[in-house]
């Protein structure tokens, strides 16, 4: 009976949900940036401290909400770095680029009207918006893939066990050879 229980416990272990690092995922839409942060088992990081850096300088600070999300407007174009700090010594970094800002967006919209084939005039702002809408499912899918990749997968788990057993197995071999020589 106890043997069965022990075996059961051991086989159940790899099936359970996975933990323990945090990851940050970033979705940039225009100049609106959404940071969502999770533990590797999918628990959102609640009330995690978010720090946004541009060229090494802190430009923004905030906290994640109960869904692990934090949304802000990027002040300028360019490359940014986000650091998320969660309780008990967890920390992660992510980088993202903001290609456009709202201000510029509006200017372009006023200046030029793009002629589409049907003769219907739409502004570049509208065009960008339409493209953004169209790409939304793809972007969400990409985020999902990124999230999935950040979790430990079975290959890594089994690989790790193999490495550990291999290292100690090698140590047994070495110590045996030493023993034979003496």
């Amino acid at each position: 009976m106890k043997k069965v229980l022990l075996l059961l416990a051991l086989t159940l272990i790899p099936l359970s949900a996975l933990a323990h690092k945090i990851s940050a995922f970033i979705d940039v839409e225009g100049n609106t940036v959404n940071v969502s942060s999770f533990f590797s088992d999918g628990t959102p990081v609640k009330g995690g401290e978010v720090e946004v850096f541009k060229d090494g300088k802190l430009v923004l600070k905030g906290k994640t909400d109960k869904n692990g999300e934090f949304t802000f407007k990027a002040p300028q174009k360019g490359k940014y770095k986000v650091v998320v700090i969660a309780e008990l010594g967890h920390r992660t970094e992510a980088e993202f680029t903001v290609g456009e800002t709202e201000k510029e967006d509006r200017e372009v919209g006023k200046k030029e009207k793009v002629n589409s084939e049907g003769g219907v005039k739409i502004s570049e702002t509208e065009l960008r918006k339409a493209v953004r809408e169209e790409l939304k499912p793809i972007r969400q899918e990409l985020l999902q893939i990124e999230e999935d990749l950040s979790r430990p997968n079975l290959t890594e788990i089994i690989g790790g066990i193999g490495w550990i057993l291999g290292i100690f197995g090698g140590a047994v071999l070495l110590s045996r050879r030493k023993g034979e020589r003496n």
């Binding site: 106890k2 043997k3 229980l5 022990l6 416990a9 272990i13 790899p14 359970s16 949900a17 996975l18 933990a19 323990h20 690092k21 945090i22 533990f39 590797s40 088992d41 628990t43 609640k46 700090i85 969660a86 309780e87 008990l88 010594g89 967890h90 920390r91 992660t92 970094e93 430990p152 890594e156 788990i157 690989g159 790790g160 066990i161 490495w163 550990i164 057993l165 290292i167 100690f168 197995g169 140590a171 047994v172 110590s175 045996r176 023993g179």
Partner: protein, 199 residues
């Protein structure tokens, strides 16, 4: 309970590596041909245990099993946990390479504390002493690690009380699950390979 890369200042990382180095030195002398397979087995058990997450709402915690590893291996828990944490850092990005010293020290110190506390109980080998040892190993392993973590984070400027409270509260369910698990393991070993409990 893996501290991430970039949280602790350099001096703590160095001290962590130093202390882990001492632990590894003592531990490796306790490893011999006889107990190597057990070291390997428990090392991989610890490696996998960190993937078992307990849903408790406030934060995300996982099993540690450092108490179990310690009570069966003693100081040899240092090399066992070091190797397991190394591969968790490399493969899962749990913790990291520079903080490996500190993380190993936190976990393995809990293991060694569990070893000294449970040794007399494990030698008795009565049913209740084994169960008591299982509970004690879990509590000692988990809460020693939680205390060390709180002290280290306190030194980086976070409030000791709130960190320690969270670390302790969040790990009560972990200790409870491990207490049951350890007791089963000890009872099973007492029946099938009692020599393992005499280390």
């Amino acid at each position: 309970m893996h501290i991430s890369e970039g949280v602790l200042p350099g001096y703590q990382l160095l001290i962590g590596w130093g202390l882990t180095g001492i632990g590894l030195f003592i531990g490796l002398r306790k490893v011999n041909q006889g107990n190597l397979p057990l070291v390997a087995l428990l090392s991989s058990a610890f490696f996998v245990a960190s993937l078992v997450h307990l849903p408790i709402g406030i934060t995300s915690v996982h099993l540690l099993l450092n108490g179990l590893v310690g009570s069966l291996l003693g100081w040899a828990a240092f090399p066992a946990l070091f190797v397991a944490l190394l591969f968790q850092a490399l493969l899962f990005q749990f913790g990291g390479i520079t903080v490996l010293g500190v993380n190993t020290f936190n976990m393995a110190t809990g293991a060694v504390v569990a070893y000294y506390l449970t040794r007399p109980l494990l030698r008795k080998k009565t049913k209740w002493s084994l169960i008591a040892a299982g509970v004690l190993a879990a509590v000692a392993g988990v809460f020693t690690a939680a205390t060390l973590l709180s002290v280290e984070l306190f030194l980086t400027g976070s409030s000791f009380r709130s960190t320690a409270e969270l670390a302790f509260l969040a790990h009560i369910p972990v200790a409870a699950v491990e207490a049951v698990f350890n007791s089963f393991v000890f009872l099973y070993l007492a029946k099938n390979s009692p020599k393992l409990l005499e280390g």
